[in-house]
Symmetry: C2
Subunit: 420 residues, 2 copies
């Protein structure tokens, strides 16, 4: 008997048919002798519909009211799912975030979990019941309802799995697992059987829409094994976990390739080459909330001035450019250039720690395709390159082949997000 | 400065336009220097849509899950309404039943309020905020969500008004108040300016769809003045309150006429005329949950046997007939007859206590119209007669005229319920 937390995204429970399919899976897991906690997102388009309603009422809804509005979606899906499970003769109770003891801070819209007190979930499991929990939501100290932001249901599931010391947290999605690259771009992309949380974090934070960062960070911190799998099949998916000595993971050099077409590049030309100027520049960026990703400082043109380039989300570009222009006198730079037409390819693999020659294979593959590299950045287990956006997909395919990641036969299905 | 509780039904907040109209009214009441608590039902068809979803999932949903499902509706309307009020520059907070301290028993689907602990509402009012409260819902001791059943939002509003010692509880609906008869039947029906809670109870419990019984009972018990009025105009509506010495209500003899076409009649023929048989008969009815209304025991045909007739909701007729047939040997009656084609007219007025001749005017009016009376029952302030259903509307018009209730000019608008 195992304790299994299962998380189902909005696309898995979009209608009565989806609810029935999910209920059947949960019931089967329970009948097989397991304890089951199922975390569920809002049905299909519910959240968008609620956002539309709010937009009809006011362009600037108060964050507290927006959060309680949005949590209605999971109330609906969790109670309907409980009904569907009850109809299959399996004892079941549904719980809101508040009832499940999900305590958060007061950052409406992207609250952080500060404490989990899942006494009622434990009681339900002790009573032989399946516990359904509304994902994405919690309450703060004042008993006001909060939401956890994008990927919140994943976070709820992983946090509950950690608190309950679950054997596994299964993340159900509409694809078969995590792939070596986006199958829409690389038709020969392979499903990854096992991957470490660190690799998953690098892939997810560089454009792969697999799992949400916070959920993976939670899973890493509390050693919760994740199993990312399809709600439409019973195939094994991708296990996200640390390799253990008893069960040594056959660690491949490269786990996979992420790509990100949502970033732009700002180049600040003629920055005075003095200590402290770069720090001031990025303080300006931070002041408008921009998350700066890759940073490259070019060789000084002369001994006095240098060029600094960095990438950031295209959505944050306008405000950042505005703030930098306002700070031109203070920073003393000569010119400011914004380029939206860039793409970032990230090669991720824990094997980079021990294997050499990775970067030369990467750069060689791009050179052979005639693709120019604008910027490079690296972490311990990742190399990212910035290329022209028009060459991004070709670059991903070339690098995928160069590292022998292609599957012998295609098993890829439509690739999508995991809901919220 | 007054403390005003305002209740808005689902038809008042059916869409963004309705929400804006309601928000404007609440904001105006607040700007006029009043403290405002607004209780709101689910928007328009939301509850029906949720019931449809549940029906798609299972024919027999567990009551606990059904309740938490349905309460999503008020979560949506309360937060949207708060957004609309905030957009008008008025400080506002919305509260669920749980947050508002509405504690109930565990009778899912029709829970009774056992305690109100509205500390957060009081705090909001102290802070100069409008408090929006989700109607129809509460929590039980286990922190499980319950619903208060039909008319639940009215009950929430009146109970809060009582707990907060509000100056008035305004019930907003889509008509101008309580009328002397259903304006769809009697085009000359008048709006009633003032009416006692007792009269309102008699009218509401005999077919007038004005206010829900439990809400009026609450208002009577805790002396909460109700003001039933239209959300589409600023006209005075109907005040439901006890006449006071300082402000003596000009008490008319007759308040109004209710009619009820939803009852059927069961006649049990040849019942042994012995003590205890009637009691056993109605125990059988109660065992299947039937609410028996008017009861008439006819003159014994001979010294041994009698006929007993009673009315009950047509929805309860089948189960009751079945139970009575099963108990035929025990009860020893000879025959059982069910008639659905009956209607009940009820004349209500506190003045009946002191005025004489009411019943002769009533019976005279029906006689002149050639309408046959099948059964009669009376309370201290009500006379009800059972007639053929085909003659019910004609009977209502005739009696309305006979008691000089007709308005000099028609002010009636479409007559409907007050939502839930």
């Amino acid at each position: 008997m195992a304790l299994i937390v299962q998380k189902f995204g909005g696309s898995s429970v979009a209608d009565a048919t989806g609810l029935a399919r999910v209920a059947e899976r949960i019931a089967a897991t329970h009948r097989a002798g397991n304890q089951v906690v199922a975390v569920v997102s809002a049905m299909g388009d519910t959240t968008d519909d609620l956002l539309d309603l709010a937009a009809q009422v006011t362009p600037r809804p108060p964050a507290r009211e927006m959060d309680i509005l949005l949590t209605a979606g999971e109330r609906i899906s969790m109670s309907l799912l409980a009904m569907a499970i009850d109809a299959r003769g399996v004892p079941v109770r549904s719980y809101t975030g508040q009832q499940a003891g999900v305590l958060t801070d007061t950052t409406y819209g992207k609250a952080q979990i500060v404490k989990l007190a899942p006494e009622r979930i434990v009681q339900s499991l002790d009573d032989g019941q399946v516990a359904i929990v509304a994902g994405f939501q919690g309450v703060n100290e004042a008993n006001d309802v909060t939401t956890l932001g994008r990927g919140g249901s994943d976070t709820t599931a992983v946090a509950l799995a950690a608190a309950l010391k679950a054997d596994v947290c299964e993340i159900y999605t509409d694809v078969d697992g995590v792939f070596t690259a986006d199958p829409r771009v690389v038709s020969s992309a392979r499903r990854i059987a096992e991957i470490t949380p660190e690799e998953t974090l690098e892939l997810a934070s560089h454009g792969a829409k697999i799992l949400h960062l916070r959920a993976v960070e939670f899973a890493r911190r509390y050693s919760v094994p994740l199993h990312v799998r399809s709600s439409f099949s019973h195939k094994e998916g991708t296990w996200v976990r640390q390799p253990t000595k008893e069960d040594p993971m056959e660690e491949p050099v490269i786990a996979g390739i992420a790509h990100d077409a949502s970033q732009g590049k700002i180049t600040v030309q003629g920055v005075p080459d003095r200590p402290g100027v770069a720090a001031r520049l990025f303080q300006v960026c931070a002041s408008v909330g921009a998350n700066v990703d890759t940073i490259v400082q070019n060789v000084s043109v002369d001994s006095q001035r240098t060029d600094i380039s960095f990438t950031l989300s295209t959505q944050e570009a306008e405000a950042t450019m505005h703030a930098l222009r306002d700070a031109q006198d203070d920073l003393g730079y000569q010119d400011l250039i914004y380029t939206e037409a860039i793409g970032i390819l990230s090669l991720v693999g824990a094997g980079m720690r021990t294997h050499t020659g990775i970067s030369s294979t990467l750069f060689g593959a791009l050179y052979e395709e005639g693709i120019n590299i604008h910027m490079i950045s690296t972490s311990e287990i990742r190399i990212s390159v910035v290329v022209d956006i028009d060459e991004l997909q070709r670059a991903v395919r070339a690098v995928h082949s160069a590292f022998d990641l292609d599957a012998s036969e295609t098993e890829a299905v439509v690739y999508g997000g995991t809901g919220r």
